[in-house]
Symmetry: C2
Subunit: 344 residues, 2 copies
């Protein structure tokens, strides 16, 4: 089988990790865990030249500088510069349209953390085998908690290297999430997909013909500039933004999944970042200078000032230039609603 | 009766309000409540020219700049510059030695907050009347909680404008403090005293003759420089440091007290400062830029950065240059033990 083509999506600008994440430097480009940024980590996971071809990165002009700076070590990388953000179905259609029909793409968000790279590569290999047989394959992340912030995948009958998808489930309420966890047949939809490029485009054309046509025209009339490709803005502007989940995965009758147990986190909050970070025996994690007394489960991330903390439990403290955030882990989901985060 | 001479003591360098209070700018010189510093507030309380003579300020060379800068509006103020810190008995002896024997001194620490200035002045008048009759008079602050951080005064038989002191009590344990509060006959020793200068010196000479002699020599051989007076360093160096409580008040048989209910606080911690500060209806107090969501009893003091807080209760957050402190109110008593506070 030929090598898998990583398609790395760099879009969006979340506010959930404000104030470290800012509009001008969003989550994928920050070294939140270890020395690598999540974008660099995504490229590194797909950096094994035996298994993977050079990556195709899809991003907007706003992030181009970060993308190029942080992808220098990814030999042969090419960049598709989206004229505007049109959600994932369109982004993937651009990449698929630029690839040979038989290429197997592995679509990877660039703002996830994956602790176990070997498990990721094994799942990628399994997904690629199914994709080569024209299955549209989602990674099914082993659910380890009754999360209400993720979509779920119910697996169906076994396939050669995975399972049919019985159904996709929207973000559930807590009781439903608990029943999914107890059932065992549900996993999280982590937004990682494998497709044969031609098969993806033909499914897209079937279920979203206008989107497929506009993406096709946009590639057709696009302009190459070194390793950058600029799709035609006018055609692209007509696209109705839609996620690949809605536009293709929930429509196709060839949806498959591969189970992936790989220490995955979308680092969707400071609480999630704390959980994904190495902690001392009291559960405290520190980046930068800090002095913790009588603390447990405290997360500190400071870009300069020393942070001294006494007597706190399960609290995140983030110092970033002119902003200081102090939040309970439970409160961390409200970070996006703060004046500082919403009025950047 | 002649006017009361305020003797304002500016010594020490506590660490309990670190990081706002630093070695180079300790608590008395910081505008912690309102626009005035506590030193300025102390001068202002004694600034009524009908009741008070110009103040005598006793301080060390380290704080002289702050003292002079912040006492400009105290007309006629004079400063005694201690060659070194020798605790309160020696400091008061210097001031007493510089005053006419019949002058009534009101000894005031400069790092206390007193909300009710009228009540303070009334207590000062009552204390001065007793001091003129050669009583050594302590303010007995109405105890409003079973504090274990203060010494207590048990009052005895009534005098013309106060009470005899039955005994002074060292900082009690919690059970004892509770029994004091229930008893009603105990008040806090706030370190505010009224003495006739000559009477103080003769009691000091009786109970601590070496200290009295050294202080006398130090004044005798001292040097005037404008409104500054520099006691002789060599004589002063021989003094064994001791508090006025030990050296005089607990020894004399002429100890008296005047009750004082005047919204007093020694602002001995960030928790005490929060309690002395105006709060919104959720009990939150903010100095500087802050954004509080789902918070109660939260105190924020920032010298620049915006502080965003979610979900916390009874926590103090202080941002001062290169230091950030986050502490529970209960933990605030441990601030002095932090690396930043102890290794300034």
């Amino acid at each position: 089988m030929s090598k898998i083509v990583p398609v790395v999506l760099c879009g969006g600008s979340g506010t959930r990790l404000w104030p470290r994440s800012r509009k001008t430097k969003p989550k994928p480009f920050l070294p939140l865990i270890g020395e690598q940024t999540m974008f660099e980590g995504t490229l590194a996971r797909c950096g094994d030249g035996e298994q993977f071809a050079p990556p195709v990165i899809v991003t907007g002009a706003a992030h181009l500088e970060h993308v190029e700076e942080q992808s220098r070590s990814a030999t042969g990388a090419s960049v598709i510069v989206e004229p505007e953000a049109k959600n994932t179905a369109a982004a993937i259609a651009l990449a698929a349209g630029r690839l040979p029909s038989d290429a197997v793409m592995l679509v990877c968000p660039s703002d996830h953390h994956i602790a176990d790279v070997q498990a990721f590569r094994a799942a990628a290999a399994a997904a690629a085998r199914l994709a080569a047989d024209d299955w549209l394959v989602a990674f099914g992340i082993t659910a380890s908690a009754p999360e209400t912030g993720y979509g779920y995948i119910k697996r169906g009958e076994p396939l050669e290297s995975g399972f049919r998808v019985e159904r996709f489930v929207e973000k559930p309420d807590l009781a439903t999430a608990r029943s999914f966890l107890a059932d065992g047949g549900y996993s999280w939809n982590g937004g990682i997909f494998a497709f044969r490029a031609g098969q993806f485009l033909s499914e897209l054309a079937r279920h979203r013909p206008a989107l497929a046509a506009a993406a096709h025209d946009s590639v057709d009339m696009g302009r190459q500039d070194g390793n950058r490709f600029h799709p035609d803005a006018k055609s692209f502007a007509t696209i109705e933004p839609e996620s690949v989940d809605y536009a293709v995965m929930e429509e196709t009758d060839r949806a498959a999944m591969v189970p992936a147990s790989m220490g995955w986190s979308d680092i969707g909050s400071w609480a999630a970042l704390r959980d994904a970070t190495d902690a001392d025996r009291d559960g405290n994690s520190v980046r930068g200078r800090a002095d913790l007394v009588d603390c447990a489960g405290v997360f500190v991330d400071s870009d300069g000032p020393r942070v001294s903390v006494i007597g706190l439990k399960d609290v995140a403290i983030v110092v970033d230039g002119d902003e200081v955030l102090v939040t309970t882990m439970d409160g961390a989901q409200k970070v996006g609603k703060l004046a500082g985060a919403s009025r950047q």
